[in-house]
């Protein structure tokens, strides 16, 4: 997993509430068996005028010129600004994969759907919750000035605006530690392998029928 320490990037404002995972990556792309290749299909229904199919080369597809990510001023954006309840709907992890592969390193919103929020951390994408008024202010500033960039410092838990104003955000210390060090969850859990084995031995003694039945 890619570590996240400090990041400065161009901001793209996605001014809609309740963006669900089916909009982030429509269900036809779930059929892929890979962890990669989803970037070109991020927001597929909004980004293109035709209906995308898995495995298709997207370079020649007709673009929806009005969609924010297609506007020239937002090319190369790596910070996504969003509204409340971002990532609601199905539990697909393809949503953070697609956002990350597109080039986003962080999503800033007033609130996130639970499973999406969890899945993001597991994939090196930092979801930042800021109060609604602050997010609103960011939307206004971003739309008003071309080339609007934000700096996110995970260690300091801050988002710094171009005008120098520093916004603090909360984050679970454990998740912060993992992201800062690029530690994947499995590696971390396996540090407790002895505890798991000890639990398992006890568990097998009290509930032996849970072991070995399926073979």
């Amino acid at each position: 997993m890619k570590a996240f320490t400090q990041h400065t990037g161009l901001v793209a404002p996605l001014d809609r509430a309740n963006v669900d995972t089916d909009q982030i990556i429509p269900k036809q792309f779930l059929k892929s068996i890979k962890r990669s290749g989803f970037g070109p299909n991020l927001f597929d229904e909004w980004r293109y005028l035709d209906v995308g199919q898995p495995g298709q080369d997207c370079s020649g597809r007709p673009l929806n010129k009005d969609f924010v990510l297609n506007l020239p001023r937002y090319q190369g954006a790596s910070v996504l600004l969003a509204r409340e309840n971002f990532g609601c709907g199905s539990s697909r992890e393809h949503a953070p994969w697609a956002l990350e592969e597109y080039g986003f390193r962080t999503v800033i919103a007033p609130s996130f759907a639970d499973i999406f929020f969890n899945n993001s951390f597991k994939n090196g994408l930092l979801p930042i919750i800021l109060p609604e008024v602050e997010v609103d202010e960011l939307f206004k500033q971003c739309e008003a000035s071309e080339g609007y960039r934000l700096t996110v410092d995970l260690a300091a838990q801050t988002v710094t605006r171009p005008d120098g104003k520093v916004l603090g955000f909360d984050i679970d210390p454990f998740r912060k530690h993992c992201l800062l060090n690029g530690l994947d969850d499995i590696g971390l859990t396996l540090q407790d392998a002895d505890a798991i084995k000890a639990f398992e031995a006890k568990h097998q003694q009290s509930s032996p029928w849970l072991f070995g039945a399926i073979k």
């Binding site: 059929k31 068996i33 505890a195 798991i196 009290s206 849970l210």
Partner: protein
């Protein structure tokens, strides 16, 4: 000190370690795998050179995009859709490579993961169960702690046999009284969601309790717990009683002999203590629950069949008003239209919510001796597993359906999410026994109305929604 809830007990039985950040490692007894959310997990294992921690804790079957038509008998290679074929093939290859037991596509035991697990005794009381699918809450009907998880978590459980989780709050949904005939578990859960909303159970583990719940069969309890997720709760549960134990007894993977007796003794304690404290309690009276129909694009947009579609003009909250307006537009309905006037183009009886034998019996009772209305383009019955299909055929239910004009299909998820060729055309209304009525869920532009199996069959024969109790009397 207050007693423990069922959730507290299950949690304590499986907590390996509390971490400094307040999260815990929870030991997982069973993981069920299917073709959509597992390939990347296996890819991740391979990339990291890891092996499954405990192969015998896993079981797999393809369900989401297997075809439900007869031609699938010619095997996986014959699945027309390339990506579907590759996913099913990949599951086969991964299970073969890692030695995981899999019920392959034409195995009679194949079916929807949430039907197959309990049917095989692969889901047992007191277990922790996970699956890369949000409707894993279904398995909580057995007094199990069952979480839907994401693909990274599937890989995590494969590699470590643990899930990283934080303890949730306790919520009790108490349904006392007696249901009127023709009203089922599906109507209860839709009424609950109508009452508390799709976020009502967020961050809670939800236990269904009360005399009406005790009266339900295991199939009915699975329907309830299945839709806990639509009420915002990741986990739904029902306490263990004699019905639970009777259902499990003799299942292929259930304990036997001395183990069985020991297990039963342990399972009987899987109930919330009388003095247990719930953070939230919601109460419903069973007598007041009527057959439910969703009219909008979220499961909470639900009403009894004898009511009228809401009028946005009467809604004071602007956000709610706006969502009613949008839902009415998408659904092609007008304010104050009686639910009974909504015509249906297709009918889908199936999905992990309502594809078990009891569901098929309830639908067949209505369909028997009647005909699907000429205006209905298609009425599908898709059993939840090969074994449900076999049993239904033994009982002659297939004939009842076929004579009435329904199609009788092979098991799978089918039109629940339209990942296989079964789907709605744009603008079509569907009476569906599934669990989600989001825009486009059953096909782009499709309009889903969630109902019980009996209500779906009644809509099929009437051509529009109708109170099934009128047909049963």
């Amino acid at each position: 000190m207050a007693g423990k809830t069922l959730y507290d007990k299950l949690w304590d039985m499986h907590e390996v370690k509390r971490r400094d950040d307040g999260s815990s490692l929870i030991y997982i007894d069973r993981q069920i795998l299917h073709e959509v959310t597992s390939p990347q997990a296996f890819e991740g294992l391979r990339l990291a050179g890891r092996k499954p921690w405990r192969v015998d804790a896993n079981i797999a079957t393809p369900d989401h995009n297997v075809p439900t038509t007869q031609d699938r008998q010619s095997g996986v290679a014959a699945i027309a859709d390339e990506t579907s074929r590759i996913q099913v093939q990949t599951l086969d290859e991964n299970c073969d490579e890692f030695g995981i037991v899999e019920f392959k596509m034409n195995d009679p035991r194949q079916g929807i993961v949430h039907v197959v697990g309990p049917e095989q005794g692969a889901t047992l009381p007191g277990m922790t169960v996970v699956c890369g699918d949000s409707h894993t809450s279904t398995h909580g009907a057995f007094g199990a702690l069952a979480h839907g998880i994401g693909t990274s978590e599937v890989e995590h459980v494969l590699a470590t046999q643990c899930l990283v989780a934080k303890k949730m709050k306790n919520m009790q949904v108490l349904v006392e009284g007696k249901l009127s005939s023709g009203v089922s578990a599906k109507d209860i859960v839709l009424a609950v969601i109508g009452k508390i909303g799709t976020a009502g159970g967020t961050a809670h583990a939800l236990e269904f309790a009360g005399s009406a719940i005790r009266e339900l069969s295991m199939e009915g309890r699975m329907t309830l717990c299945n839709m806990a997720i639509e009420a915002g709760a990741r986990v739904g549960m029902v306490a263990v009683d004699d019905k639970t134990i009777d259902y499990v007894k003799g299942r292929p993977y259930a304990p036997q002999g001395a183990d069985w007796d020991k297990a039963v003794a342990q399972w009987k304690a899987l109930v919330s203590d009388a003095d247990a404290r719930f953070d939230t309690v919601v109460e419903l009276k069973a007598e007041e629950i009527k057959p439910q129909v969703t009219w909008g694009t979220s499961p909470e947009m639900v009403l009894p069949v004898d009511e009228r579609v809401p009028d946005p003009a009467l809604e004071a909250d602007p956000v709610k008003r706006d969502s009613i307006v949008r839902a009415l537009k998408y659904m092609g309905l007008s304010a104050n239209q009686p639910i009974g006037e909504i015509k249906v183009d297709r009918v889908f009886i199936g999905s992990c919510t309502n594809s078990r034998i009891e569901d098929l019996r309830a639908a067949a009772e209505v369909a028997k001796g009647r005909k699907v209305a000429a205006s209905v383009k298609q009425a599908l019955v898709v059993p939840g597993s090969g074994l449900v299909k076999e049993q239904a055929e033994q009982e002659g239910l297939d004939k009842v359906f076929i004579e009435a004009g329904f199609e009788w299909r092979e098991p799978g998820c089918s039109m629940c999410l339209a990942m296989n060729p079964d789907r709605l055309e744009s603008g079509e209304h569907c009476a569906s026994t599934s669990n989600r009525n989001f825009e486009g869920r059953q096909g782009a532009g499709g309009r889903t109305h969630l109902v019980s199996p009996a209500m779906a069959a009644a809509a099929a024969v009437a051509g529009h929604f109708v109170d099934v109790r009128e047909l049963l009397n």
